[in-house]
Symmetry: C3
């Protein structure tokens, strides 16, 4: 297990665990399999891959690289043993600097555009818990394989917040409208088994290695298919969702900034963080 370098560098995230920077490690590790050409993109911001500006920028750059290299396929996974991604880093929202806050949200939008609309095929190998923003990354992929005994879901209402319309659209692209409404209003965190039943994931794998192996099996199905025809088909199917955000990008940022900077929201973030500190020192 990675240990924090110093307490002062630690940041608290939504799961209440600590996230620490370590300059010697890359936030995102891309490895291309020589034989298959598939890229494994590993989120690597210990301990729980909470999505801060730097991690999002690293993901965005990794996706650009795959796009430019006309990747044959991507497998998104985590270096953590128990968490795929804990979602957005709460520290980005607490007492934020206005410009960074905008950049943070705009970069999340970038990641969504690049992942949800990628030309290359994408699979999430979900080897740990995947709430909120973690679930969003998984939903953006075209196929989801999950390890047992974890949870996944857009649980925003459980946190007192609202999943943006493009988070909702990503879920609706995957499970039925009916199940989406229940899941989004209740903020349901599905177990691996429940997620399979409702269609939020496609397969279960015993462990990370098996998940990645199964991901490659899925990607293999595209080997004989024209990458261009495939990409155009996927993008046509997802175009309404994509255009919806493209047409409202700046309003979506303004709405996020407005919501986060409300005194009431800042106060509740403060109380939340104080609670975490107390628990951490107890």
């Amino acid at each position: 297990m990675l240990r924090p370098i110093s307490r002062s560098l630690c940041r608290f995230n939504l799961l209440g665990t600590r996230s620490c920077s370590n300059a010697s490690e890359k936030l995102v590790i891309t490895e291309v399999d020589d034989k298959t050409g598939y890229a494994t993109v590993t989120l690597n911001r210990p301990p729980v891959n909470s999505l801060n500006l730097e991690l999002l920028k690293s993901i965005s750059e990794a996706l650009d690289e795959l796009q430019n290299n006309k990747s044959r396929g991507m497998i998104l996974t985590s270096s953590s043993k128990t968490v795929f991604s804990a979602g957005l880093d709460i520290m980005e929202m607490y007492k934020p600097k206005p410009e960074r806050l905008k950049d943070f949200w705009s970069t999340l939008q970038d990641v969504w555009f690049k992942l949800y609309g990628s030309a290359f095929p994408t699979v999430a190998a979900i080897n740990g818990h995947s709430p909120a923003g973690g679930c969003l990354l998984a939903l953006c992929c075209e196929y989801r394989i999950m390890c047992p005994n974890y949870t996944i879901g857009l649980n925003e209402t459980q946190l007192g917040i609202v999943a943006p319309t493009w988070f909702q659209a990503s879920m609706r692209n995957t499970i039925s409208r009916r199940e989406s409404e229940l899941a989004l209003t209740l903020g349901t965190l599905f177990s691996t088994d429940q997620a399979l039943k409702v269609g939020l994931i496609d397969e279960i794998a015993a462990n990370k290695e098996e998940a990645i192996a199964k991901a490659a099996v899925f990607l293999d199905k595209f080997r004989k298919i024209s990458p261009q025809a495939r990409a155009m088909t996927k993008q046509a199917l997802r175009s309404k969702d994509i255009m919806q955000l493209e047409d409202n990008r700046s309003q979506d940022i303004d709405l996020f900034v407005y919501a986060v900077t409300q005194p009431k929201v800042q106060k509740s973030l403060e109380l939340y963080l104080e609670g975490l500190k107390k628990r951490a020192s107890a």
Copy 2:
């Protein structure tokens, strides 16, 4: 069982049973559980809760009251032993006064806006048959629990009429597009068991009391969730359907008035009512 005050006050409805006014009874009874804070809203226009202007206005007012009181949740049910609601009152459409006809349809739209888009969570405890407009009320709710051996469906085509687009949208929000098309073109009335299978209802309860108890169990799931985040999430998911009618409200009224006042339609209503009278006196 309630008895009609006088034959002259009776009105015939779509199911062919009689509906009678009784000034001493409220058309809608709202009871709030002191412990849970949940409101049970009981449709009470014997014998079959056919939706006339007065009943619709009473429902609309009851929904306003719950909204203003920031209700924790609503359970919609019926005082009848066999009918949830028989749907729109045919007498509102036979030889109508133009102003009342417009008011009737506009009030139905109001009820739909307030119920389909309510901030508070809603459950239908469907303790009887629920055709056409009765099914619409149930579809507007977020969860449906039904007692055995009844029927439910948007059976408009069976009656020779067309379910308006917002009726159709309410069904599509609940069951799949494929099942919606079959159900709406065929005018299918589903049995309780069939309704569960297709997803038109969520649960079966042995009787009204059990239905209401199960409804409370569903509402309890929202106890730890921010009501505001919940409401905004629900309304975002249903916003396209809501905006669709908002943008076409007056045209939708005009279309209804035009259709109803066609001589051919009035003639068929007349024949239908004569048939009912003959059967009633036989």
Copy 3:
């Protein structure tokens, strides 16, 4: 089995079999059952009903005739023993005359408008393979009954091409968004059993006769329903898809012509046809 009149008249289609004109045979045979009033429309362009301009025009005329005669219902099937329709005739796209190419695509749009939006109820009795354009015809119908051991699907990506948005919309109207995305990006050809499981077809029939008999059973369900109310309901449900193409009809033709006339596409068609010739003479 029908034999080609002369080799020079033969045309190669996407399945790699030969299609031959025979002036003595009608391309589409419409037979109306005296008892039920249902019309069986049989595609009859041996050997595999590849959709060229003439066959499409014949289908379009057959649909007009049914519409004008206020048909009670249509059953679409094939005179072939193994193929429902092999899809678009590749010869329409190879070294095309510009005007004919436009006419070809415009006629396919016509067929789609008339079949997808028909007032009368429609059933596909799929008595053979049904790839690409063949699957499209089946998807336009309101009900699908298929014989065992054939394949069906919008397999365009397998052929290196992209199914137009209205092909995609027809699939989305039938199976879930999730299954549509997988099927369309992978270009899946489903076996009869798989098609039933995913909802691409509604029933399996042992043979053509049973398929037609089952189709009549489905159509019988509409006997007591107002044809006008039925038609308006169906058209309202499908109106968004229909308006989408209506609003983009000429752009859709331009896009098709542009794509087909690309030197790269013409080259790959040439290679494909040469391969067929070699196989045919081997």
